[in-house]
């Protein structure tokens, strides 16, 4: 890649720039910063939209009584059941059961607290889903 071809198409890294390896006029390689590439933005948006739409489907399923709030919060934190199991310290088969309302509703506070900690929220937050579409799928600190 030539230095002049290093894409500067979006500010997709917030206030960060990315390092690309590119060649100057003499063909020597150096690190050139990039503000973003259209191609990257397309595939990144695709991936994020997919996560958002899965979270939204899950939210609607919770409201319809088909899924437990745990499933929504897991998806919102971009986790898979096995990731959640590892981080909450709960067996995978139990996690999978708890994604359904019947098993989830019977959980005691101790188990709920494990989930809440792994998902970085309070137990009260864990027990419900928002009324509106959630666009925010990143943890904000």
């Amino acid at each position: 890649m030539k230095k002049k071809d290093v894409p500067q198409e979006h500010d997709m890294y917030g206030d960060h720039l990315r390092a690309c390896y590119a060649q100057d006029e003499k063909g020597n390689y150096e690190i050139v910063t990039s503000a973003g590439w259209d191609v990257e933005s397309v595939v990144n948006t695709q991936a994020n939209n997919e996560i958002r739409s899965e979270a939204e489907q899950s939210r609607l399923a919770v409201i319809a009584g088909l899924s437990s709030p745990l499933e929504f919060h897991m998806k919102r934190r971009q986790m898979t059941p096995s990731m959640l199991a590892a981080n909450a310290g709960i067996w995978l088969w139990r996690v999978k059961r708890h994604l359904k309302p019947a098993a989830f509703n019977k959980l005691n506070n101790k188990v709920l607290a494990c989930y809440a900690e792994a998902l970085v929220m309070t137990v009260a937050e864990l027990l419900q889903v928002p009324d509106e579409v959630v666009k925010d799928i990143a943890y904000r600190g």
């Binding site: 390689y29 990144n44 096995s82």
Partner: protein
């Protein structure tokens, strides 16, 4: 190792220098070495660490997609650098987050910048859409101010800060590749590392893994395997899901911090730099050839993005896409064969 010196003492009273890098692991190692007085570029770390690779495993899923990687497994660069240059890296994992936090603070108190393994999702200084659960991200911590850690993230162009709580979460995230609080820093750096010896060794090792592994998932055969699979994606997954698979490969090639073209450009930079060090002109030509293959990989990404954008909906688009990937495989195969002859 008599000629070795403990460099860390010299760090005291010295201003920490941030270095911008393409890849987190080679970047973190280069930053640690350079701040300990060993001037080695990221490209050299990547090359001598034999970071370049290719692997495609359809049945091993990462975040729902087949694993496709343009580089070797996490921590192989660190291991190879230590082995080939005689660097001694001290590394430690922890049973509990509390122990890990205390050990980190003690090292920082001594003025030692350290490398950490983290989960990107919890690192709040990154833009939201760039954060995914990946436990293998390397960063360097060089200090603490109040409750915030001072961080030199190799893939960012400037230093950042991160709250103790967030960093703790990132260090002790569990699941695949769990970091377990890993900290590492160079303890011993040889005074005169033998680059002339290490470079051919490293190149031969990369050539071997790209050409000789008798499994069709890895190296050049892995690239051809990906091409074959890709042609089947539209029938196997349906057009919409196939496009997601294409998107995922492109992300592995470009988005995760590869310096462009799935590490092919950074490796070309390494070959170029090596040509001068081991006095081997042939490497310059080969470096240029790898750059050209890299450009072809970028064209693959551009064309793949058309599919993702749904501008290109026919299954025949996947045939064209696979054709480019095969061209890349052919180009790379020729390059590694040439490399084998000249080093």
């Amino acid at each position: 190792m008599d000629s070795a010196v403990v460099k860390n003492k010299s760090m005291l009273n010295k201003e920490f220098q941030h270095h911008h890098a393409a890849h987190c692991e080679s970047g973190a190692v280069a930053t640690l070495l350079r701040n300990n007085g060993f001037e080695l570029s990221e490209a050299m770390v990547f090359g001598i660490g034999s970071g370049l690779f290719f692997i495609h495993i359809p049945w091993l899923k990462l975040a729902g997609y087949p694993v496709t990687a343009y580089r070797d497994k996490p921590h192989s660069i660190i291991k190879n650098i230590c082995k080939r240059l005689g660097v001694r890296m001290r590394s430690q994992k922890f049973r509990t987050p509390e122990l890990g936090a205390r050990a980190l603070d003690e090292l920082l108190d001594k003025g030692i910048p350290v490398g950490l393994q983290t989960n990107v999702y919890w690192l709040t200084y990154f833009p939201d859409d760039m954060r995914f659960h990946y436990n293998g991200h390397n960063i360097v911590v060089y200090g603490k101010q109040g409750d915030d850690y001072l961080i030199s993230d190799p893939v960012s162009d400037h230093v950042v800060t991160c709250s103790a709580e967030d960093l703790q979460r990132a260090r002790f995230s569990k699941g695949m590749l769990a970091p377990k609080g890993l900290v590492y820093y160079p303890e011993v750096i040889p005074e005169n590392p033998d680059l002339e010896h290490a470079i051919p060794l490293a190149i031969r090792s990369t050539v071997k893994s790209m050409l000789d592994i008798p499994v069709p998932l890895m190296g050049v055969r892995g690239i051809r395997f990906l091409a074959r699979r890709m042609e089947q994606w539209p029938t196997k997954y349906g057009l919409k899901n196939a496009a997601r698979h294409v998107g995922n490969v492109i992300r592995m090639q470009e988005e995760i911090g590869t310096g462009g073209a799935g590490f092919r450009f950074i490796y070309a930079a390494f070959l170029q730099e090596s040509a001068a060090i081991i006095n081997n002109e042939a490497l310059l030509t080969i470096s240029q050839e790898l750059s050209d293959v890299g450009d072809r990989w970028r064209e693959f990404a551009v064309m793949g993005a058309q599919i993702v954008r749904q501008k290109e909906k026919s299954a025949s688009a996947y045939k064209n896409l696979a054709a480019i990937v095969r061209e890349c495989a052919d180009g790379e195969e020729a390059i590694y064969k040439k490399l084998r002859q000249v080093v």
